[in-house]
């Protein structure tokens, strides 16, 4: 196809194939996110061709290629993707290590505009514009520019309440989501979530960034910064401590003071609406009843 839309975190993202003969093939993980909405929040124009960054663009952020293996982060290469600034534009040039059809891609972001571009270095003309890591990059910049929060964490919807468990790698995000899942709760996602704040409430959403996912969302009523413990214990976090601990687990590129300011303000707004606690937990079903009784 030459055009399709995805609905992610209540944003409709329209992809338009622009080059003659281009064919857009979203991966199966995006299936349940495909939308029939006619409007859009962001239109991404997709081109095929050589990826070239203008010489007058300034590199502002470089990300190495890091893989997490059994909870350990292992750097595989110094060069993965690089962010450039060109006037008001943000350019992200990346290799596509998991794609057979595309070696390199360039995302052209026009902050404040509803239309961005992707150029994909593909000889076949068949491309998935959301192939890794372009999926995370598009979602990061879309949400960061809109003032949302993109966070490493697991989220569950349990008996009418929505809990977010965040923490560094190895602290039990997937484990605790699995325990709630076994108790019949809906696991919104077990690794990363988008948080959006509306007048009507604060909501967390999953994304199609990893495996096949159904579109999920839940109202967020409590946040726990988690760690393993010998018993189940929770304690409230102070305001600044809550900001610090949430920010440390957010997906962020940390090179632009405007984006950092947006995120800091979004977190400060969030913790005024949703309490943040520390949770030390035992990895069994006792943590579910502990949280049910834990007052927010």
């Amino acid at each position: 196809m030459t055009s399709y839309s995805l609905k992610i975190a209540d944003y409709t993202i329209l992809f338009n194939g622009m080059t003659d003969g281009i064919s857009l093939h979203p991966s199966s993980s995006q299936e349940s996110f495909i939308s029939t909405d006619t409007g859009f929040d962001l239109a991404v124009n997709v081109f095929t061709g050589p990826v070239v960054v203008r010489e007058d663009a300034t590199a502002v952020f470089r990300a190495p290629y890091v893989e997490e293996i059994n909870g350990t982060m292992i750097k595989k290469s110094d060069e993965f993707w690089t962010v450039y600034r060109l006037g008001d534009y943000i350019l992200v040039r990346t290799s596509c290590p998991l794609s057979l059809r595309c070696k390199e891609a360039l995302l052209v972001i026009r902050p404040g505009e509803k239309s961005w571009d992707i150029i994909m270095d593909s000889s076949t003309g068949i491309v998935d514009p959301m192939s890794y890591p372009m999926d995370g990059l598009i979602l990061y910049y879309l949400t960061a520019l809109k003032g949302d929060i993109f966070i490493h964490g697991s989220g569950v919807s349990h008996k009418g309440k929505g809990y977010l468990f965040t923490g560094r790698s190895g602290k039990g995000k997937t484990t605790i989501a699995g325990i709630f899942g076994e108790e019949g709760s809906e696991v919104v996602h077990d690794d990363r979530l988008i948080i959006r704040q509306y007048k009507k409430g604060v909501f967390m959403y999953n994304t199609p960034v990893y495996n096949y996912e159904k579109y999920r969302k839940a109202e967020l009523t409590g946040i726990y910064v988690i760690d393993h413990g010998s018993s189940n214990e929770s304690s409230p976090r102070s305001c600044s401590d809550a900001v610090t601990s949430i920010m440390a687990n957010c997906i962020q590129h940390h090179w632009d003071s405007g984006l950092i300011g947006n995120l800091t303000e979004a977190i400060m707004k969030l913790i005024k609406r949703v309490d943040v606690k520390t949770l030390k937990f035992v990895p069994d079903r006792s943590v579910v009843s502990f949280i049910e009784k834990d007052e927010y």
Partner: protein, 94 residues
């Protein structure tokens, strides 16, 4: 060694947001390895932070702290020097 006549400024590579009693300081690093570095300063630190305008000397800040928090001169001096020392170490002030 911090000289009382020195004038410090907040680093332009820091984003600061006031949470009420405290201030959250986030460095603009451009380096993925530094993404966990977020600092918070308490109410005294927040007061000093707001005086680091590139115009006031350290001595003037000490006097302001002494008046604001109703503490002795020695205590105010120690608080300011300790705060500025930490801020210098983390390159939060220049």
């Amino acid at each position: 060694m911090i000289n009382l006549q020195t004038v410090y400024s907040r680093s332009p590579r820091i984003v600061a947001r006031d949470t009420g009693d405290e201030i959250v300081l986030v460095p603009v690093t451009g380096n993925i390895a530094d993404m966990k570095s977020v600092y918070t300063v308490n109410s005294t630190g927040a007061f000093i932070w707001n005086l680091l305008d590139g115009k006031r000397t350290v001595e003037e800040i000490v006097t302001a702290v002494e008046n604001e928090f109703d503490v002795g001169g020695k205590q105010a001096l120690n608080d300011v020097l300790s705060f500025l020392h930490d801020m210098k170490v983390y390159l939060i002030i220049v």
